[in-house]
């Protein structure tokens, strides 16, 4: 996929399994929205192909579009029409009645303001309306571009719950986001995009463990003595931020306790060194972030 002299997407080979929430991550300009545009037929790639629900996007998207709900970037609506009227117009395109519109407005928490013109809505409310529009058709696949963008913390929690429940209902929710902690909490699988290429993809646990080996964090009074004791037992331990980081699976934490106790060293803290998606994300996209800063 090329935009002028810039290649927006390159060798992106991605398969989203049916059902569940799929997180699509990447820094700004990585190509997330371009990918979504390609999936919805809004942009045409120079090469390659995309399929949604088995249909080739370039040729057969209209045959499956009723089964797909989407939000691309900030949802756009007619600013001088009310939220309800905007949804009614869209619903009418697919023969959906006003009852469903009211139910959706209720579900996204806009029932009370549905009669107000969209111009008066906050970004968060527009975002909710966008999610509402995507839900109108009872879609099997939801493609949502940054659905939590502009929402307040309570709204983010609501959207998180909504996406999780939609995934649990058996729908396929493809959600792009830069709020990594959100994705980690709701997604079953993720893909990380950098410079138009997919740098990691798979179940969240797999992607997390691919970032670097897991370990345990140990706190005790004499860090150097602890490191020596563990090294003697064949375990690699490094002093890190007034604690020892031991390269051993968290399930093997008892071994660490025993080795240290045998040497008369007693722990003040022992916890798993959990790697979050944010760390993996930053590691995998480190070059791009650096280039962005330099630019």
């Amino acid at each position: 996929m090329r935009r002028g002299s810039t290649i927006a997407l390159r060798r992106l080979d991605l398969e989203v399994p049916e059902g569940g929430v799929f997180g699509f991550l990447g820094p700004n300009g990585a190509g997330k929205t371009t990918t979504i545009r390609c999936l919805l037929g809004l942009a045409r790639p120079n090469g390659g192909s995309a399929r949604v629900l088995g249909a080739d996007v370039a040729r057969d998207l209209p045959s499956v579009i009723r089964r797909v709900g989407s939000v691309v970037e900030t949802p756009a609506f007619f600013p001088h029409f009310s939220g309800r009227r905007n949804l009614l117009l869209l619903a009418r395109l697919h023969g959906i009645g006003p009852k469903r519109v009211n139910a959706v407005l209720e579900r996204v928490g806009l029932a009370e303001r549905a009669g107000d013109i969209v111009k008066t809505y906050s970004l968060g409310m527009k975002q909710r309306l966008g999610v509402g529009a995507a839900l109108l058709g009872d879609a099997e696949v939801l493609i949502l571009d940054e659905p939590a963008n502009g929402l307040d913390p309570a709204g983010i929690v609501e959207v998180r719950g909504l996406l999780r429940s939609l995934g649990a209902e058996g729908r396929t929710v493809f959600v792009s986001s830069h709020i990594l902690s959100e994705v980690q909490q709701i997604a079953d699988r993720v893909a990380i995009l950098a410079r138009g290429e997919c740098v990691a993809a798979g179940p969240v646990e797999e992607v997390l463990s691919a970032g670097r080996a897991r370990g345990v964090i140990v706190r005790l009074d004499d860090l150097d003595a602890g490191a020596r004791a563990l090294a003697d037992a064949g375990l690699r331990a490094t002093v890190d931020n007034e604690a020892l980081r031991v390269e051993v699976a968290p399930s093997e934490a008892a071994t660490v306790t025993r080795i240290l106790a045998d040497r008369g060293l007693y722990l003040t803290e022992l916890r798993a060194d959990e790697i979050d998606l944010e760390t993996v994300f930053l590691e995998l996209t480190a070059d791009e972030s650096k280039e962005g800063l330099e630019a």
Binding site: R37, L40, G41, L42, A43, R44, L61, P62, I65, V68, S70, V72, E73, T74, P75, A76, F77, F78, P79, H80, F81, R85, L89, L90, R92, L93, H94, G95, A133
Partner: protein, 300 residues
């Protein structure tokens, strides 16, 4: 469904409401001004006009006003003189005369043309500006269908609105003429002439909306479409008229004038049918270019 949604959206637009209210207010004001300025002819004025018309008719029949080779084809000198010289012509300009109704309709056609151009251009220009075109395409990805629905909704709605406004104008001026002006001496076929003027002006308005829509679809912007149209009509066509008079019969403005005035005798080198054909051809080419651009370009 798509077509019905587009019709609903057009009808619900704020700009449509604003322009219709402005047009109705203008018609109302024109009616009031005409009623205030027009005075019903008094007997003395009628007698004077009768006398002058008799004098002019005699001069005409004597061949002093038109030579036989200038007569319209198939018309005798007497037929021509009696059809064109009537006492009502000599009442002066202080009376609103019902026989001038086709001229009033043609006179407001330019305003209608401009208003329709704005409506057509903003119908899609506003969608590009607000980003709703993208939302719509995620519901209906067949872009040609979207384009056709928009064009149909726009030109049909504008035609209906234009007919309604011109009928309102005609009724208002008829009322003024009946109460404060002259309704006698109406030429044969006035109703047909009025109906023709209304339909041609409304068709020209529809055409303007199609041109505006097509340009806004290509430029993805209302202001660009308006700028291009007015720049072309005022500058390009003006230059062509001055530098290449032979090309005049191909100009949009000239063909539009022929079409609105309904002159069949070859004004600007065009017949009425020829002008209509040229206008439809221009609109068709522009719409085709717009559809091609809409289908080919990415939407962001």
């Amino acid at each position: 469904m798509l077509l019905s949604v587009e019709f609903r959206r057009f009808a619900a637009r704020e700009l449509v409401l604003v322009l219709v209210v402005a047009a109705l207010s203008g018609i109302g004001m024109a009616g009031v001004i005409a009623a205030v300025k027009s005075r019903p002819p008094v007997a003395e004025l009628a007698a004077r006009a009768e006398l002058r018309a008799g004098r002019e008719l005699r001069a005409c029949l004597a061949g002093k006003q038109i030579s036989p080779d200038e007569l319209p084809p198939g018309e005798t000198l007497e037929e021509f003189c009696r059809a064109n010289i009537r006492p009502e012509n000599y009442y002066g300009s202080q009376q609103i005369a019902l026989r001038d109704l086709p001229n009033w309709i043609q006179g407001v056609s330019f305003i209608l043309f401009v208003g329709s151009l704005v409506l057509g251009a903003s119908f899609v220009g506003a969608e590009w500006h607000a980003g709703t075109m993208m939302t719509l395409l995620t519901w209906e990805p067949r872009r040609l269908r979207v384009m056709v629905a928009k064009v149909l909704a726009c030109v049909v709605s504008v035609f209906v609105l234009a007919v309604g406004l011109l009928v309102a104008l005609s009724l208002t001026m008829t009322l003024v003429a009946a109460t404060r002006g002259i309704t006698s001496g109406l030429p044969d076929g006035l109703f047909g002439s009025v109906a023709g003027s209304v339909l041609r002006s409304a068709a020209a308005a529809s055409l303007a909306s199609a041109l505006g829509l097509a340009l806004a679809m290509i430029g993805r912007n209302t202001a660009a479409a308006m700028g291009v149209t007015f720049g072309y009509l005022a500058i390009v066509e003006g230059l062509i008229r001055a530098l290449r008079p032979g090309w005049q019969k191909w100009l949009l403005g000239d063909n539009l004038s022929v079409f609105i005035m309904g002159r069949a005798e070859g004004f600007a080198g065009r017949s009425l049918g020829g002008a209509a054909l040229v206008l439809v051809l221009y609109a068709g080419v522009l719409l085709l270019a717009a559809a091609t651009s809409f289908r080919a370009r990415d939407v962001s």
